[in-house]
Amino acid sequence: MNTKTALSSKKNIAFREVSFHINDILKRLIVSGISLEIPEGETLVLLGRSGSGKTTLLKLINGMLLPREGEILVEGRSTRDWDLIRLRRGIGYVIQDAGLFPHFTVAENVALVPNLERWDAARTAARVQEMLQLVGLDPGEFAHRRPRELSGGQRQRVGVARALAADPPILLMDEPFGALDPVTRAELQREFSALARRLGKTIVFVTHDLREALLLASRIVLLETGRIVASAPPQEFLRLHHPEVRAFTSSLNLTPGASA
């Protein structure tokens, strides 16, 4: 087993019979019996309705949640054995509301992980420039702004730049474009799709939007009430006959042009 994981790609993620549940007064999130291999360079989209366990799977990868049963291997090592701070600094994370630090400038936000990792100032500054250009923001215009001075789309671009700044091999994205207006969303989806192909990172992307999944995914994994019910590349996915797949594809047909 050990030799096998050592030989497999350094950057992959594997779920082995993972179950997780939390019981509290407000909500009960459950995933169960999850087994999933995510090879290096794949853009895996976790698709499902609200409450299907997509975000839970994402948070299990960077150790924000630890499994009740089974294990998640990142680069061949269980998240239980990782130093979680080290693990997370090697995994980019983008969320719906961007979660930019309002007291930091755009440049300081992007420099977060390089600063935590004590990069020297010149290298960090160069990297911030590079990242802002990568996400289509002019450093001269945006570097010294505060998050409140940005539009929703610009904030998400900064969120992506921040996640990529320390060049992590893995990128986790939780409905990053979900709160944007349809036009901006389509724009960012297109750009990100091209960016993802160019960067070659392992990306796990959560969405409830099939259109987005089809655009970005190299593979779509469909979750229903905490279980994986389908897993296929986009074109194959559309031809599957599972009822939950049909539910998603029919929503696509019923509302041409809409995407949420």
């Binding site: 960077n62 924000m64 979680l84 701070i85 080290r86 693990l87 997370r88 600094r89 995994i91 994370y93 969320i95 719906q96 509301d97 961007a98 979660g99 930019l100 630090f101 309002p102 007291h103 977060l112 992980v113 935590l116 409140r148 969120g159 921040r162 996640a163 986790l172």
Partner: protein
Amino acid sequence: MTSWSFFTEHREEILGATVEHMTLVVIAMVIAILIGVPLGMFIVQRPALRTIALGIASIFQTIPSLALFGFLIPIPFIGGIGKRTAIVALVLYALLPILRNTYVGLTGIDPAVLEAAEAMGMTRAQILFRVRFPLARAVILAGIRTATIITIGVATIAAAIGAGGLGTFIFRGVALVSDALILAGAIPAALLALLADFLLGLLERRLKVT
């Protein structure tokens, strides 16, 4: 004798009492901040302690101030007649607004910001000092501002246990039925409170991050 001529004739005494009053307030506030802010930071991660700490601080706030001064007098080391006892009482009064605002400020932060901070690999201490604390500054300062105004008012009562300050005029004025004496204590105390409110309000607006 009009109040005004009383004021001009006793200018130096009033000034001295004002300085004495401010000294009491400043010492009490410094101690209350040094206790309240770290304690507030400490209870953020500890629900059990939080209830106890906020509960105890609330109880002090409900004790009538004159009674609190009275209760402290017989207590060894911190009690007795004079400034030390007064400062202890003022600290106890100032604690609740500082503690509560520190706690509320540190916990009332956009969950997305905290989630991002954790997910990017910040340690708990880094999240506290680089994210929670800078974002909570204005709220904490609002608590300090409230506490300062309360303390300036309550400190007038400290004169009852021999701590001096502007309350000395007020108590004497009540005993002698002299409006001029009462005003000689009350007006500077009110001006001090307004001034503190104004200055701390300015600072608070500067620290606010939106």
